[in-house]
Each structure stands twice: as structure tokens, then as C-alpha cells.
Symmetry: C2
Subunit: 337 residues, 2 copies
Amino acid sequence: MDVNRRFLLRRRPVDDPVPEDFELVREPVPSPSAGEFIVRNIYCSMDPAMRGWMDDAPSYMPPIALDDPVRASTVGVVHASDNPDYPVGQWVMGLNAIEDYSLVTPGHFTAPVDISAVDSPTRFLTAMGAVSLTAYFGMTEVAKPQAGETLCVSGAAGAVGSVVGQIGKIHGCRVIGIAGGAEKCRRLTQDYGFDVAIDYQGKSLDQMRAAIGAAAPDGLDMVFENVGGLVMEAEILNLANHARVVLCGLISEYNASEHVGLRNLWQVIVHQATLTGFLVTDYAPRFPEGGARIMEWVADGRLRIDEDVQEGIENAYDTFMRLFSGANNGKQILKIG
Amino acid sequence: MDVNRRFLLRRRPVDDPVPEDFELVREPVPSPSAGEFIVRNIYCSMDPAMRGWMDDAPSYMPPIALDDPVRASTVGVVHASDNPDYPVGQWVMGLNAIEDYSLVTPGHFTAPVDISAVDSPTRFLTAMGAVSLTAYFGMTEVAKPQAGETLCVSGAAGAVGSVVGQIGKIHGCRVIGIAGGAEKCRRLTQDYGFDVAIDYQGKSLDQMRAAIGAAAPDGLDMVFENVGGLVMEAEILNLANHARVVLCGLISEYNASEHVGLRNLWQVIVHQATLTGFLVTDYAPRFPEGGARIMEWVADGRLRIDEDVQEGIENAYDTFMRLFSGANNGKQILKIG
């Protein structure tokens, strides 16, 4: 391959991204200067957070610049190198972009990975990736589950949610998952061992409130929030006193210009609850510890992590949009080349 | 006096309370049965929380029943008694109602107070009352101010807010207060020693955001929220990372059927902030400790607590509404009789 296919952000999406917001272009493969190297990206992670990076809004990372490729976590192989720490052939993971080849400059986040330790390189985007670490640190450091407590997780069939719920079960909690559609709900209880699955599709706020209330008559001790909007409002109406709410994601709001937000904030006071905004990057120094614990659980058969791998950089847009339609079954990954 | 004037809730207010929601009636003075006593209420506290008790909605206390007098904290004197612990003539404070005489049954919250220790009985509704304790425990136990940090308090000229800001100054913080109108803002900086006062009146969300940003260029380490709505949204757009937000009250929303809530919840994630719903009742066993500390500060001249005393039970409605128009200058109190 001597062509670098790159999936560029051409304009900032308004509400739902449309194909015209992006363009797949062909450019020359870059060459490394002093200290630099080139990664051939094999797989990339498709994450809801990427939608936020497309907006020109203050966030925890700068926006993706227009005409730059769409930023994504990737796993790949060093293709050319002027950096002795990253020889050609070394597998690496890092925050690169949806493109065949990424130029990595000194100081940019990339880490070598030991591909012999796993059955598939995609594991570095799933079990040992940011998504599982998000579930792990959000649960163990923020929610702090105690045996016998009740946990509700939204986006429960997603990459973070399915791991969150299973970590709840490992800690002896009753786990309620909220997901969209009968098939996802079936997976929650049958594949991931959740106690209750609630399908939010077609339900009003009152109906969601009642469904959660029936599943948790003593209220929710913990909420792990990935969705926001009406789903979160229904959870907030079912809090137990001193509930802990981990604010991890708000995927229902990312494509909306007008945000629902949290209209029943009063219930947070009534229940003396705590809402904590959570970014896994806060725990970066402890990633090896978290990754090791997760891999132990996977090896023991206590934690199941599903991957949904789509193929071909030409399907980047369609694959990204699967996150918002809820079509993905497990962690959404794109095999670039 | 052999008549008990009682300010009854006749119907539940929709949005803003109107005079027709209440009625002042004259009834016989009750007599105590075994273990009971009668308090003649001299002063009552007018608190925003009372608006919530008028709704038939789940909360931390049961709603005020229709045709019952409006619940309120009062300070008064035992008028008749069949309880040896509460002899006639003893001063007491408790959660009673806006009426001349309240029948107190065993188990109901009432406490004897030592009137000789204060210059006015109203102090038991202000400096040593729930309002100051709310500021004290919200700051020391939830916000946990560190010297050099920046605190923003909304409803800053109110009974809770003015004490919150002063406790922030006592802890060496930079304190920004948000209040409505030039006179209140003048009081914040001149009477209470706030560093900056921001008048929210006539300002859009963007203007409020910019005003807070100019006053706190490095962001807000702590927010003490009494108001909600646009004021809170503007604060949330100015959070420093790992900010602590004490959710104490949302007075801008109490009279509204449609709640603004918190539409920019995403910023809570971006800044890894923590929002904690706070009820002072959680700290009831520590009230004596908190009250003593507050009185020390008052005695030292480090803490100023203003009272706004209106007179006459016939003015109960007008006095209550001063809380929402912002007419009160300091803790709103009504002298019942």
C-alpha cells in the first residue's frame, strides 16, 4: 500500500452527522522525521465521545480540526520509524485517527502492546482498552458498590454498560440494565447475567419511571449513566437516599442542538444524591492495575466482553452511526485495512 | 388571646402561589392532652423550602395537607402544658406552623432554647437556626473549602447565601456572589466582604457566563447553588476541573411547572465535577457543634447575619412572596403576634 486513505471531517455536524460532513480521501503515506514513526492502523475504536470531538465546543480535548481525519483510538503496527523505541513491526495502541497511516510525533499518546498475550489485537480496544477501564474505574472508584445494593446502568448493552453491569454482579449487587430493543434486553439477562432488563423503546417518562420502580422498589443505590435525557430522568425519579450517580456519557444528547438535560434536579436534593462527572483519563496512572484485574475476570469467565467488528474504512460513516441507532452488539470496532 | 389565628393551605398552588391558595381563619385555642403542650408562636421563619411542601409531590417531607396551617419553623413560648419537660413559660423552637398556637404531640421536633443567651428570640431562626446550619454544614462537609480556591454562591444575598459566602471568606477563598439588583450586590461586597458581586437581572445566559468567567478566569472550584435555572447553567459553564457543586436549593424553579433543570450536564463530565444534593437534616446530631461555631464567628465579628422581620400574621402571604420577588434583605421572618 502506498496510499493513505483518510476519513476527514469536512464540516461540523448539526444534530445527526450526515455523510456529507465527511470525505474519504487518498493521500501519500507520510514519512517520519527525527523521533517520529508511522503507524499502520489495523483496527479503530468507534466511541460516542468522538461525536463530541466533532463540535467546536469547549471540552476535555480540543475539537477535531476541519479537514483533519476523525480522531479515534487505534491498534496497529509500526510501518516506518525514526524512533528506536518504536521499531518497524512493533504493535502499538494510541489515539490516532481513522486513516491507514498515522504520523506519530514525540509526546503523542501511543503505547507498545504485547500481541502474543491476546487472541485478537482488538482486545486492546475492548477488554484492555479505555472502554473497559472506564467501566472498571467508574464502578470501583466512584460508584463503590456494596454487596446487596441496587445498580441501574443505562446504555447497558453497550461497550461500557455491559461491563459495568457485570462488575456490579461480581460485587454482589442487584443489577438493572436499560437498553433499546428486545434482543439487547435478552442479551443483558442471558449473556451478561443482569437481574432485570428494561426496554426503553416506546416508553414515556412515566412508563420508564414505573418500570424502574417495579424493578427497584427500595430505590437505586447507584446509577451508571451513559445515555442521559428521559432515561436518566426516569432513574433520578427512583433514587434511594444518598445514591451515587456516575455521569459517564449522555449519548442521547450528543446529536441534539437542544438538550433535555436534567429537569428534575430537585430529586437530587431530596435524595441527598451525588452526581460525579467521570473521565477515565483521571486514572491513567492506574490503567495497568485496572487492565490486569479485568483480564483476570475475563480469564475466570466472570466477565464477558463482546465485540462488533465491521470491515473497511469506506464504511466508517455507517459504522460510526451504528452507535446512535443502537445497531451495535458489543463494542463497535472498524477494521480499517 | 383566646382565638387561634391560623394561616391555612386551602388549595395547592400552580406555579406562583396566589392569595386564594390560602385562608386566615380564627379557631379556638387547642388544649393539651397527656404528654402534649401548646406553643404560642411568636416568630416564624419564611423559607423557600415551604413552597415545595405545598406541592403534592414526593419529597423529603410529606406535603402540607390541604386545610392544615402552613408548616414553618417557629420560636415561641409554652402557653399550656401537660408535659413536665415543657413547663408553661419555657421558650422553644420547633417545626410548627403559621398560627398563633400549635399543639405539640410527643415525638414531634421541638427543642427548648435559652433566650437569655441571645439579644433576640429571632436568633434561633437565623444565626442558630436551620438556615445558618445549612450554610455551615454545606460548606464544611460538602464543599470543603481550601484557602486560595474560588467559590461562587447564588442567591448570595439570601439567608443561606450570605452566610455561605462569609464562611468562604473565613476559609481564605475568593468569593463571588450572584444576586438580583444593585442594592443586594452592594450589600454583598460592602456588608458581607464578598470579592465580586454579579447582578443577574437583565442578563442572558451568555452574559452571565461571561460575567462569571471574568470574575473567575481559572474557573470555579466550588459552587453553592440556591437558585438553579439559568444562573446555575452559567456557573456550570465556568467550572474548574474537579469542582464541587453543593445543590442546596433551586428557588428559580419552585414556582414553575416546566423546569429548566440543567441542560448543560455534559460540562459536569468534561470537568469531572461532583454535584451533591444536600439536606441539613442529615447533620442533625451535629447541630450543637455547628451552632456553637457560628456563634463564635458572630461574636468575633467575622460573620454578619441580617434579619428581615415583617409583622402580623395577616401579612403571611405577602411576606412569603418576598422570598420569590427577592424583596427580602436578609433572613425573612414574620412576627406572628
